[in-house]
Symmetry: C2
Subunit: 517 residues, 2 copies
């Protein structure tokens, strides 16, 4: 068994069952080894940003790491943007990056880069394998580190992949959450009982249904409001679950909303900050005067922490309160006429199937979708946590592979879509049930919104040329078909409802270009 086979076997034993790969010469032993292990499915992505974004989507859905296989420094570099999003989402990801043979590296061949430096920009854990004998242990440690909600990156020299270490056993990850901090639970419970107006702000794993149930119990016991950050990585939504509003995108309304609370308890999320800095507006969104406490660390299971807090508050079980705190069923009707962002959101809400996964990189076009989700049938909602464009299509790809029996709907801004459109090809190859909704407003509209905020109502033609996606208009139907995905263009809400309904009924990927006025 060579190092590469040992690596693959260790990954599989640690629960890794998928590998998003774009490998090169330095990773060939690992590519060959994938045939020795039926437990792991290799998925070819035609750009590394697709590999890493897909691993993020997969990890968010299943709360366990997928593996990426990346070629040297350039391959890793191409994957950084979406690893940044994964890092902000606290998604478990295992990156395996090939490196030149140890004896060749010093000659600084053309493809050589400082991979460790690059890896450090996004990895919570990283290592360069020092010997084939340590490879299995390194992989196991990387997986364990990833499972705390981190990007873990292991760099593996090519000669260590080929080497045949003697007498090495397949290691297993040592992973366990740190115990709940009872002191903090007690403090938080005192604060919440103090009769001051309070909010419980939750994020990360806390937005899975068990976490939502615990949060709802705390709400029932104390009357606190529930909130989440502006860009939650993964939220379970729908009738019967508590509605957890997101903080508004712009800092002024977020600050205003939060200013009413004298007590803020944070779980699974750090103190919220403004997305961008605006002169005269604070970076920190929480009121300076109130009392605030974070009840978990990144090493704890935030769901267990919330349940401990609910128990400390003698909160009723969720079954007893779901009728009161769970959202009521409410599905909008399909609107009519020319599409706008709002109408697109209403149409999707009216049409989406049970258990849908909604990946939202629609930016200005899909701002109004989230609130509609509270009353729909159960679904999962994923956002662009790190703000790095080109996340939606890869994430949808990974989510669809994680949950093959669910339908993925991807709101995708046309500007963002262009970043990682290679994902469509993988969706076609793997026959994934993803419907991509291109929000074709044909501009970087968010930039115009941001300019207006700073008082600039109009700009010159050169500045304008950098914000318009016209000249030429991208024909998404043609692009998608070229990459193997059937596609349609619609201009009206009725057209969208019809085509989305059809896409949901048919299996395999679809793309619908929504021309938005």
């Amino acid at each position: 068994m060579n190092g590469a086979e040992l690596l693959v076997k260790t990954a599989v034993k640690a629960g890794i069952d998928i590998c998003f790969a774009n490998a090169g010469t330095t990773e060939m032993p690992i590519v060959v080894a994938l045939d020795s292990e039926p437990g792991i499915k290799p998925v070819l992505c035609l750009f590394e940003g697709v590999c890493t974004g897909a691993a993020d989507g997969y990890g968010r859905m299943l709360d366990k790491p997928a593996m990426t296989l990346l070629h040297l420094g350039p391959g890793f570099a191409d994957g950084i943007s979406n690893l940044h999003n994964a890092r902000r989402a606290k998604t478990p990801v295992l990156n395996i990056v090939g490196e030149h043979a140890t004896w060749h590296r010093a000659s600084d061949p053309p493809l050589a880069m400082d991979i460790e430096r690059l890896a450090g920009s996004v990895s919570g854990w990283q290592r360069t394998n020092k010997a084939p004998e340590a490879l299995s242990r390194d992989v196991a440690e990387a997986v364990a580190a990833a499972r705390y909600g981190q990007v873990a990156t292991l760099i593996v020299p090519n000669d260590h992949q080929w080497a045949e270490p003697a007498g090495v056993r397949v290691a297993t990850p040592k992973f366990s959450f740190a115990p709940v901090d009872s002191g903090r639970i007690e403090q938080a419970s005192r604060l919440l009982r103090s009769k001051s107006k309070a909010a419980l702000m939750i994020g990360g794993r806390a937005l899975r249904s068990r976490g939502l149930h615990a949060a709802a119990r705390i709400r029932a016991a104390t009357g606190c409001a529930l909130l989440t950050d502006g860009f939650p990585p993964y939220v379970e939504r729908g009738a019967g679950l508590p509605d957890v509003p997101r903080l508004p995108y712009f800092p002024e309304p977020a600050i205003k909303l939060l200013s009413q609370y004298k007590v803020i308890v944070l779980a699974g999320v750090k103190e919220p900050v403004a997305f961008f800095g605006y002169k005269g507006v604070a970076s920190q969104l929480l009121p300076e005067t109130g009392r605030k406490i974070r009840i978990d660390t990144g090493r704890q299971n935030v769901i267990a922490v919330l349940e401990a807090l609910a128990d400390a508050l003698d909160a009723p079980q969720y079954a007893k309160i779901s009728g009161k705190i769970g959202s009521k069923r409410a599905r909008p009707a399909v609107p009519s006429g020319e599409l706008t962002g709002e109408k697109a959101c209403l149409t999707v809400a009216a049409t989406q199937p049970e258990d849908a996964i909604v990946v939202d990189e629609g930016l200005t076009s899909s701002f109004s979708y989230y609130p509609l989700g509270a009353g729909l049938s159960p679904h999962t909602y994923l956002t662009l946590t790190g703000g790095s464009l080109g996340h939606g299509m890869p994430c949808a790809t990974g989510a669809a592979l994680a949950c093959r029996d669910r339908h993925v709907i991807n709101f995708e801004a046309d500007g963002s879509a262009m970043y990682t459109l290679q994902a469509l090809w993988t969706q076609a190859r793997e026959s994934l049930n993803v419907t991509t909704l291109i929000c074709a407003n044909r501009s970087y509209n968010i930039l115009k919104v941001e300019l207006k905020r700073v008082g600039i109502e109009s700009v010159g033609p050169r500045a304008s040329s950098l914000m318009e996606l016209e000249r030429p208009t991208i024909d998404w139907v043609s692009v998608a078909k070229g990459l193997g995905v059937p596609a349609m263009s619609v201009h009206t809400a009725e057209g969208l409802a019809r085509e989305l309904g059809k896409a949901i009924r048919e299996s395999g990927p679809h793309l619908i270009e929504m021309v938005i006025g």
Copy 2:
């Protein structure tokens, strides 16, 4: 005048006339400022790898830096791969990267990354602007640093862009090459006169015609062979110029070729090394026994260095020897029948117009093109210096903008093309005379070649799935049309000759999918 306007004015005064941009909120002041300066042309690219690859192509053609404008850490990260290629090519590039407002950065907002760490992976010079008053000086120093053949990266906080520094003057770059090292010239001249079999290996600026003339003079005076590295950034080619063969890609033939020389003089290029490490084959390609000397440093003008060596050798002027040393005119005929890589190369050589710029990322399909170039009419040839895929289409875009009166032909492997296909849209928007020749062998063929080298003749279905671009077949005609570029697919050499001829006669971009058996 705010900081952003000062930045733009300084860049223009320093000779920067183009800006490849994909800006975001943090760079908006610079975007707005572009309208205050007619001397700089903004070019929108829909992915940052296109911005940086285009800057590389532009810089290679004109031997001066283009500017990129990139959005925060994620924007820079997306541009790293092609900056790696630019670094290996020693192309002058000026990156301007926006950063959050200084007072906002510490709150670690979602888009925050360690930009300095990322910049360090590819930049020969980098700085984060510390005050608006220093902005003009920083830009001037960055441009000066870039002109030595480096990637220079200046990170500019958003508040420094908006600020209005008082009494600041527009700085100008202080740039001059270091003087020629006469000691080394003398040493090299002694070695070349020693009657040992010698080779002069040249790279970088030395491959421009003045450098080639100087090298030819040295050859005429000493009988030395001329060589260049495996992946030269920019070579002027054609009848009347000396033919400078490239080192073979694989180390064994390269080592064999070089082993015949007892003296090696290097100019504008470091000692050659193998692209990848293969067990039992040396990394270093030069013979250990011979004598070798590099006659320039990165701070010197290698053309002046070569001319000094030619003069030291009392070499005849080029006009007197061009008839003997310059390549003879020899243009192949268009072959016939089903396309292969070889036939595609012959057809392009038979059809390309005078003064063509040939950007070669054809990998296994275009291996046989370079030797044909010696006898053609004058043209320029650019290669994938750093091995990081996705270089060709952006590089062709930048080269076409640098030389609007020349026709660019881009050999583009289908696997590589998928990395940065967004470049096609910019080619359409700017009506660039680029013909992209997709080498559609529908596989990562180079990986199969590399596997055979290590004795693996066949692999399992999983490994195979990671090397095949089938299922689905990419329809490049549809993809290109979707991005605004007229496209055709051809299967025969005659078809290629016809379509390439048409594309050359018509203005604007074209794409020809060459289906290669």
